[in-house]
Symmetry: C2
């Protein structure tokens, strides 16, 4: 068994919290952003390219990996790190988010969720026990409790029920985790997830009861799913001060560069988001001067100048806007690679800059 | 004006011809294979990745670049090298092959071919003059005469007519090339293309008349388009001995690794082929032990072993077969990158090995 993984908070300021998390696969400097490698790969990017941009950790989706290739394939490979040949830390989500986003085809019970595979329609079940078993088998460094994630705009009684189930499942996850750790050479960090939609009192209740169970870190879920940005900040302002200073805080599914800066200032340590990559694939790029451009616009057809002369991505420093515009026009996959490296590079650089400002 | 680009033949043996071609963008060691970067990019690969595999030169398609973004965009960028940020040599084809592969929608005249854009149906025309003007504007290091390329299985009279047009157009291309060189800071090598299908006498006639026009190199076109491998070798055995030793020889559209080895032995110096990449995209990989495997087969699901421990591609040395099988299953683009780098790496390595054998 590895020594218990640890979070060290080094400083707190108006910029944010500066610290590090030690894992069996190396140290992660906080605050940080996690690229999402859904089924064990980033779309259009090699692991080496991810590394060049300074990614410290990869997020993978339990739901997707459970369906294909399945933990029964990954565990004998030596776990997910070995299977995908990624040597740095990995966080796996619980699968809950994907399952609940198929709300119309899934049936929720107190024991978990019955749903059908999006691949072939096979009936499947995911609950606290299976979420823990799968994540332990995958061997991630940070794993997540199985939670119920309703739309933030759902009626209060739905949110109330989701909080109750999330708390019940968190307790069960913690117990299964404890059991599974006994047999494991590898002890992951287990995070609880604070739900409660936009209802402050439910958020507070959820946070307090999770803290009583004592998790290794706390995530704030159910945000960035349709509510306004100010509402999201409001929830953070209510929840963050309740959470223990000595545990890492993870805001799930956020966000844009200004949101990351604001949320770090509010005391968040960890983020993930697919938006920068989705925008990149549609030719929407964030540049290092703070502007953003749509490469598909014909105004770039003859723009024979670097995509971003000060980009963290070499491809953007060396290739022209006109070339990238052309690659999008002819649907060349290199377009996606260049664009994704630009937006991910900018996102990771934002976090690095914040860390450096806090070091000063 | 740059000094005239030159071919130096260093040795000839039963393995093949060893030499080099000097261009304004550096020296190319012969024999060599050219990756096909259709519209100025290799599918699923960055230029850096191409460089890592030892690519010495990139082939780009005049037809595709003329349609999008157009030479009127590329020339002001400083030419194709600058536009795509590829610093090594580039060869452009004449556009003839693409135009003739749309035979049912194109109209062939003695002055050239009327056809419609595959992108938007715009009526277009390509002939010897425009092929030379476009290629000069693109600024490639090696350019090709506009030729008529009928199927090798076409009736003799069609082949005969194609040879006559190819010779007429070659003469006109040479004249236009001479004119364009006067105004150019950059003098590309111009290659004539030997047509004649499987008709030996027509191949001989075509080769001899082209040689009388004195080109910088000679290509053998209209092969690898449906005829048997032995028929292809037969044409090479008839044509290669006729061609001047001091000029490079380019077999267009070939081929597999054994074909490359055989054709080098027959005296060919240059090759291009999209087949290794197409096979890769379908999960068909060439390994360095000489075997080939289909990654889509379920037998690889649990094969937790390097794709190819002795591969020229780092990705294949570090990633598992089981992982690549999984990436193909979930349609992750990284599958294509890994597979293409394997097959292109093996193809380029084959040429490098042949060159080294000839150095010994």
């Amino acid at each position: 068994m590895y020594p218990t993984l640890m979070f060290t908070l080094q400083s707190t300021s108006s910029i944010g919290r500066r610290g590090n998390i030690r894992t069996a696969h190396g140290e992660i400097q906080t605050p940080f952003f996690m690229p999402v490698g859904t089924a064990g790969a980033m779309r259009g990017m090699t692991h080496e390219q991810l590394g060049e941009l300074g990614a410290q950790i990869l997020l993978c989706n339990t739901y997707h990996l459970h369906l294909q290739p399945g933990e029964e394939t990954i565990a004998p490979a030596g776990g997910l790190h070995q299977f995908i040949h990624w040597k740095k830390p990995i966080l796996t989500d619980s699968g809950g988010y994907q399952v609940f986003s198929m709300r119309h085809t899934s049936k929720i019970e107190d024991t978990g969720v019955h749903f059908r595979s999006h691949r072939d329609g096979t009936p499947l079940f995911l609950g606290p026990e299976s979420a823990m078993r799968i994540q332990h088998a995958l061997g991630a460094d940070i794993i997540m409790c199985f939670d119920e994630c309703p739309p933030s705009t759902a009626p209060r009684q739905d949110i109330e029920q989701a909080v109750d189930r999330t708390l019940l499942w968190a307790k069960q996850c913690k117990e299964w985790h404890k059991e599974l750790c006994k047999k494991s050479a590898h002890v992951p960090l287990l995070f609880g997830i604070v739900q409660g939609g936009l209802e402050r009192d439910l958020r507070e209740k959820c946070a307090e009861e999770l803290m009583a169970m004592d998790f290794d870190g706390y995530a704030i879920g159910g945000l960035a799913v349709g509510e306004g940005q100010e509402e999201m900040y409001g929830v953070l302002d209510a929840v963050c001060p309740l959470l223990p200073a000595e545990k890492p805080r993870y805001l799930m599914g956020v966000g844009t560069i200004p949101q990351l800066q604001n949320c770090v200032a509010k005391g968040v340590d960890m983020f993930d988001c697919v938006l920068p990559m989705r925008l990149a694939r549609h030719g929407h790029l964030f540049l290092s001067d703070g502007s953003d451009i749509r490469l598909s616009h014909s105004k770039w057809k003859n723009a024979h100048e670097a995509i971003d002369a000060h980009s963290p991505s070499l491809l953007s420093r060396t290739h022209y806007k006109s070339y990238l515009h052309h690659l999008f026009k002819v649907h060349e996959r290199l377009a996606e690679t260049i664009a994704c490296m630009q937006n991910l590079g900018m996102t990771l650089k934002t976090m690095q800059d914040l860390r450096e400002q806090m070091n000063d």
